[in-house]
């Protein structure tokens, strides 16, 4: 399959049942394309971190297999893991190490010979260069997050996992983080991020996977997803307020604002007929005049909420 040829990461039939009996993942299959930003979106406890942990070798899968750039993560774990950089959700660091020591350690751990010039470049890009001799314990939360990214990038990985990269990060830092992720993508790194912030996925991702209770319920191009599942709302500002919607227009299921001055019609963009033309005609027939109209598209958040509702 062509899609498989492009895949840098291929997850097939992965299940995970913890010793407690909790089934965190149920036969998850997923292909990640080379060079894309993929957002794995799901509520807390949906299995996002478990999936990442299995791919990275931190958790053993109960069944199924994963191939990273053609390498099986069990049989050929060295090649597979050398390809991956992982930024964990928790800010786990060796408090008493220096910034420079810890990124050098990470690079060595992943089997790369020393390369101070490259590490300097990474630290500069993450605005950590002037902190290179500081002990990690003296860094702020945002710096520690960036340090974890620097550690993950220290061995020049092709795939970068960001597990909840902006959890507990303030608005400005979030913007910076998004900027950073985009610049990483520009260098050819494939990025897989998990998030439960929908706007993050909407802002960043090329494709979105939605995971819920251990199952991937949808994988789609973001734009396609927005188009397919997106609903549009058309709001009409009336010239004279209405007391109630005339029965002739009941079939359109419109909402009338409390002051009677606005009519809102919701329609599906994926439908063959949006019903707009018919509506406008019927409005005309009913002698309802409007002075203005505007349309809005539902956000990914609306889509996400309705998706989770539908499958419940």
């Amino acid at each position: 399959m062509v899609a498989n040829m492009q895949a840098i990461l291929s997850v097939s039939g992965i299940s995970k049942t913890y010793a407690s009996g909790f089934q965190a993942l149920k036969r998850v299959s997923l292909d990640i394309r080379r060079g894309e930003i993929f957002a794995l979106l799901g509520p807390n406890g949906a299995g996002k971190t478990t999936l990442i942990s299995i791919i990275c070798g931190i958790v053993n899968a109960s069944e199924g297999s994963v191939r990273v750039d053609g390498h099986d993560i069990i049989k050929d774990y060295r090649a597979a893991r050398a390809t991956i950089g992982l930024v964990p959700q928790e800010l786990t660091t060796d408090a008493f190490e220096s910034v420079w020591a810890t990124v050098s350690f990470s690079r060595g751990l992943f089997g790369r010979p020393r390369n101070p010039a490259y590490l300097e470049k990474v630290l500069r890009e993450l605005s950590l260069w002037d902190k290179k001799d500081n002990k990690i314990i003296t860094l702020s939360g945002g710096m520690k997050r960036r340090l974890l990214i620097a550690k993950a990038l220290s061995h020049e990985p092709q795939i970068l996992f960001l597990d909840e990269p902006t959890a507990g990060v303030d608005v400005n830092l979030r913007r910076d983080m998004w900027q950073l992720v985009r610049s990483l993508q520009a260098t050819g790194v494939t990025i897989i991020l998990t998030t439960h912030y929908i706007d993050e996925a909407e802002e960043m991702a090329d494709r979105i996977g939605v995971i819920r209770k251990g199952e991937i319920i949808l994988v789609e191009d973001k734009d396609e997803l927005m188009r397919k599942l997106g609903k549009k709302r058309m709001t009409l500002q009336l010239q004279t307020p209405l007391a109630l919607i005339p029965p002739a227009l009941a079939a359109y299921q419109m909402e009338l604002s409390s002051d009677g001055s606005e009519l809102t019609y919701t329609y599906d963009t994926s439908g063959e007929r949006t019903g707009i033309i018919a509506l406008l005609k019927d409005l005309n027939d009913a002698s309802i005049a409007f002075k203005d109209l505007h349309t809005t598209q539902s956000s990914l958040e609306d889509i996400f909420v309705s998706l989770l509702k539908d499958t419940r």
Partner: protein
Amino acid sequence: MNLHAMRAIYLFEMARTRRTLLQSIVSPVISTSLYFVVFGAAIGARIAEVDGISYGAFIVPGLIMLSLLTQSVSNASFGIYFPKFTGTIYELLSAPVSYLEIAASYVGAAATKSIVLGLIILATAGLFVPLQVAHPWWMILFLVLTAVTFSLFGFIIGIWADNFEKLQLVPLLIITPLTFLGGSFYSIDILPPVWQTITLFNPVVYLVSGFRWSFYGIADVAVGISLAMTLLFLAVFLAIVAWIFKTGYRLKN
């Protein structure tokens, strides 16, 4: 072989040692000196020679063993327990390193530290009592083998422990008593016959005896048996480590 990784882990652990120099090196040296003052000078003066060696000199190999065993275990156990505790173990588990490489690096670093410590204590002892080492190569062999074996043991404890109390438990409740009762401060000849037999179940007896033989050519048990027992412990701990890594015990869910 991921030699870069082994080097990185080894250097990381040695850097940790340098940061905790006071606790790692100075405190064992001070406590050893105290033993010499109390047992060697104060009490030792009233004890006749043991097997023709002054009491102060007699206890040197045992004292080194005492530090070697406790330090190897606590070093190695702490080295692997701490990443588990802070969560930084994620990096180790996701790295392209084999378990053998991980174990070898941590154990290697812990053993290096204990060997250095053992040599420092030996030098310190030289200030208090006249020393002789009859079989230097054997001395080094026992020193290295014991350091490696018990660092391996410490590594196992570090993986097994899921809190700080368990981490202290084995060194405190098993290693220290066994070392004190293992002939560090006496020749087992002076025990009543029943206790002499019971003592033979104490693994530390073989380590101390072999080590002391390398100094003075006297031993409670034949040196070949001492060496064989040391190698046996090494093999047992290696087997346990192999099992831990095969099953991911306490490391992976």
